[in-house]
Point group: C2
Chain length 159, copies 2
Amino acid sequence: METPRWLTPEQLRAWIRLESVVELLPTVLDSQLQRDAQLTHFEYLVLAKLSEAPEHVLRMTRLAAITNSTLPRLSHVVSRLEARGYLERRPCPEDRRATNAHLTETGWQKVVATAPGHVANVRAHVIDLLTDEQVEQLDGIMATLLERLDPQNSLRRLP
Amino acid sequence: METPRWLTPEQLRAWIRLESVVELLPTVLDSQLQRDAQLTHFEYLVLAKLSEAPEHVLRMTRLAAITNSTLPRLSHVVSRLEARGYLERRPCPEDRRATNAHLTETGWQKVVATAPGHVANVRAHVIDLLTDEQVEQLDGIMATLLERLDPQNSLRRLP
DNA sequence: TGAAAGTGGTTGTCGCGGCAACTGACGCCC
DNA sequence: GGGCGTCAGTTGCCGCGACAACCACTTTCA
């Protein structure tokens, strides 16, 4: 074990700030959605991704991948959303192991009603605070980090 | 309610990537610390901040602020860390409402033993992947976001 | 063709974080 | 100087997420 390479003051400052944002941002997203739509951020994400999918249908595995989640976690939240009538599980005809999540009409209406407030929140806390140049820089930096955090790049891997 | 201002494709892409990093990064930090030191990232943060404080002592309120936490959350985790012998609670002499958290020698040793692995992990997943220029950009962007997320700027406000 | 390995998904248990209610101590202010 | 609002901190309960064990189906290959 070699002696550790510490961070320079500049690196440390950037890291502490990133750490803080990573800690605080989820709370801001969750509380707006909870207040205005009784949804967690993750629940909203599931509904939103479904609403963007062709036919409003996605396989559980695929849905887990694009929401950066695990199958058990997704399964739990899908059960909750199903109980509230926002989506339905249906067995997949081609592969009888698989399950498809279908957004219901109620679920679609929920997304339509909730999206504007959520976008406004994202603007207010992130996008509108940054210059176009900073948004571009942010995109590049996050893309680099994702390559390491998510090597399979599940967000791009299509079915 | 006016019609919502949607995000441009560039903004959307940057946002989705930030969203993903915010979702995935905590897991990476937690699992390394859990594996190598049986600590959550937040527990480590508490010990680390104490270890940087003069006399290795901080008031609970102050500790909550610099860890971006709430008092109830901190109180719970301090109880756990106290049970494991890493710190002690002591009533504050000047203000009998207040409690001081003291890092023990065992706790200090734990931080010393754990820090190098944690820093290496931060390097591997964040800092070493970015150019110096990107680190600087990241710092600027996160500073801007923190101004909104944490208006009191508790990280700077000294006792 | 049938056993073994692999894949898709669900369920159960446990631990942490959020919130609300509560206690005790300080300070104000007439 | 006693009562009232506020502040510091703790506790209890609830809900979500992680993990592991499990079931069902598919694929492979001898």
